[in-house]
């Protein structure tokens, strides 16, 4: 469900998502992201020692559930501050993060 691309040179894991991220889809996606992160050595270990970055690319997504927002928070907590960001949100998704009050912590643009 989630498409991942790890750039070894820049040490950036980019995750792209489908159109609708409802509660059921988010359950699957959460597991997929965990598995992917587990397979990348630069994303393992104590969070303050991690050098890699994670980007959630929302360019194809038009709906997100509260479960997906929780996944964003959980993922952001696994890396040092500033190493997680959410990119290419459509205005409705941007507003959704704004309402949640988590847009700054999650570095949403």
């Amino acid at each position: 469900m989630v498409t991942t691309d790890y750039n070894n040179n820049e040490k950036i894991l980019t995750c792209s998502f489908p159109d609708r991220l409802d509660t059921n889809a988010s359950l699957v996606i959460g597991e997929e992201i965990n598995n992917t992160m587990g397979s990348i050595p630069e994303l393992n270990g104590p969070s303050d020692t991690i050098a890699a970055r994670i980007v959630f690319d929302m360019k194809d997504t038009s709906f997100i559930s509260s479960s997906f927002i929780r996944i964003c928070v959980a993922t952001a907590k696994k890396v040092p501050a500033g190493h997680f960001s959410i990119r290419n949100c459509d205005p409705f998704i941007k507003k959704t993060f704004k309402i949640s009050g988590l847009d700054i912590i999650l570095n949403v643009t």
Partner: protein, 477 residues
């Protein structure tokens, strides 16, 4: 380490705000699908929940609580199902204004012990219809049945695709916890139905509130009224769920010349007039003297229970205890609101004194709530209505049923009745879905031709008075 009240409140509001974030993405069809599923689940649970409520609270009559549950689900649903509450809700090409409905955010709903399951389900429906997550604070005396009503609604909502945590119930928390939630910066609105203390706390929380407090409903029986019909109607209303609806009749006012007939009619229809000594005994158990508020121990109790508590004997089958009083105020405790089958009764010298009495009763703790009149004289109905401060003046109708709406008239069915500024509310309407949306107005450019045609130099000239300016504004250019 134990969670602090603030941490607990943060957890509840963080869940609610995530639900709000998800919910605001839903369209009208998705929203309506959820509301339909929830109303059906609530309606199907009406009997079970009514029995649970009576068993847990010891208040009221289960068959009547079934009706309240029906009003709160079926009738509320029918009144809101076709309402537009998402996205563009109106578009006027003449004014160039388009209205867009947006949700408010998390709503904190306080529910009373008198109508616990019905109020919870009604508030859930109007919140979901407007895409607002709801946090329900159940009255301590009705925590189980309220939680069960919420659970039934929540499961149906989730099944229909609603966001997780769109309905939450906080267990019978402390007053401090309730206040912490009410003042939380992530809360959008407090929808408080209850006593004066609660409503005042809601208004002083710093968050917007729709708080609806007590009533003290006077009912005037005019000489043109159909007397047997009026008395039957009053009995139907005052005995409904043992008088627990805040819009139920509290005082009956009649003119002296027809008083014997009215009394006879009440007696014929199995109401019992207390003697002065019996009134004293009932006062003692019905009203707390320090606060002049009703005793919680008699709320929603039957005539038999009240008589036993008061140590008086009444005829078997008595429907209402009638207390003939000579005045209004603290010297006459039963002139205050009592949510039980006890009714104050006044004989006025004439029509004008009767109206004066109704005004006094209306202002004794029930400003802005509801009032009733039985009359076939339209002029008197309008005179009465214009001097009474009530959001609802119900005519030839049981006030309990009439004020709540949906059955005896075309008022919006509701279990939260706005009392206007007299009751410290922002509205006198019956609260429904339309009060739970933010309406944004898209205002397209539409020039005010009259203003644009005015010689604007006139405004800068101190010698141009209102007559000159009005002439120039209205003249044909």
């Amino acid at each position: 380490m134990a969670e602090t009240l603030q941490e607990k409140a943060d957890d509840v509001l963080n869940r609610a705000i995530l639900a709000a974030a998800e919910f605001q993405q839903f369209d009208q069809a998705q929203t309506d699908h959820i509301v339909e599923a929830v109303f059906k689940a609530g309606l199907n649970a009406r009997v079970k929940l009514a029995k649970m409520a009576v068993e847990e609270t010891g208040i009221g009559i289960w068959q009547h609580k079934v009706w309240k549950n029906v009003i709160a689900t079926q009738l509320v649903y029918e009144s809101i199902k076709n309402e537009k509450t998402v996205g563009s809700i109106s578009d006027d090409p003449v004014t160039g204004i388009t209205e867009i409905a947006q949700p408010l955010g998390p709503v904190f709903a306080v529910t009373p012990v008198t109508n616990p399951t019905s109020t919870a389900m009604y508030k859930i429906l109007i919140c979901l219809k407007t895409r607002n997550p709801i946090i329900i604070s159940a009255h301590r005396g009705a925590a189980k049945c309220t939680a069960e009503a919420a659970r039934i609604c929540y499961e149906a909502a989730l099944e229909a695709g609603a966001p997780e945590d769109c309905i939450q119930v906080i267990s019978s928390g402390s007053r401090d916890f309730t206040h912490t939630i009410m003042a939380h910066p992530k809360l959008a609105l407090i929808l408080a139905t209850g006593g004066t203390g609660l409503v005042n706390a809601a208004y002083s929380s710093g968050n917007p509130a729709i708080g609806v407090g007590p009533g003290n409903v006077p009912v005037f029986i005019d000489e043109t009224a159909d007397l047997p019909f009026a008395v039957e109607s009053i009995i139907t209303s005052k005995t409904f769920d043992n008088g627990t609806i805040c819009a139920s009749e509290q005082s009956i006012v009649v003119e002296e010349k027809m008083e014997p007939q009215v009394r006879k009619e009440f007696e014929r229809q199995h109401c019992y007039f207390l003697t002065p000594e019996e009134i004293k005994k009932v006062e003692k158990i019905a009203i707390v003297p320090e606060t002049m508020s009703m005793s919680p121990f008699i709320v929603g109790q039957s005539v038999e229970t009240i008589a036993t508590k008061a140590g008086i004997t009444v005829p078997e089958g008595t429907k209402i205890l009638m207390a003939k009083l000579d005045g209004v105020g603290k010297e006459y405790p039963l002139s205050h609101e009592v949510l039980a089958p006890i009714l104050a009764y006044y004989s006025a010298k004439n029509y004008h004194q009767a109206i004066h009495l109704c005004i006094d009763l209306n202002y004794l703790g029930g400003i802005g709530h509801s009032a009733g009149i039985y009359s076939n004289n339209e002029k008197r109905i309008m005179e009465f209505s214009q001097v009474i401060n009530a959001g609802r003046i119900v005519v030839n109708t049981p006030t309990s049923h009439g004020a709540v709406g949906g059955t005896y008239n075309m008022l919006l069915p509701s279990l939260t009745l706005g009392c206007g500024t007299g009751g410290k509310n922002i509205t006198t309407e019956n609260i429904s879905a339309k009060h739970l949306i933010n309406i944004q107005r898209v205002c397209r450019r539409k020039m005010n031709d009259k203003f644009m045609s005015v010689n604007h130099a006139l405004y800068l000239d101190e010698n141009s008075n209102d007559a000159v300016l009005q002439y120039d504004y209205h003249k044909n250019h």
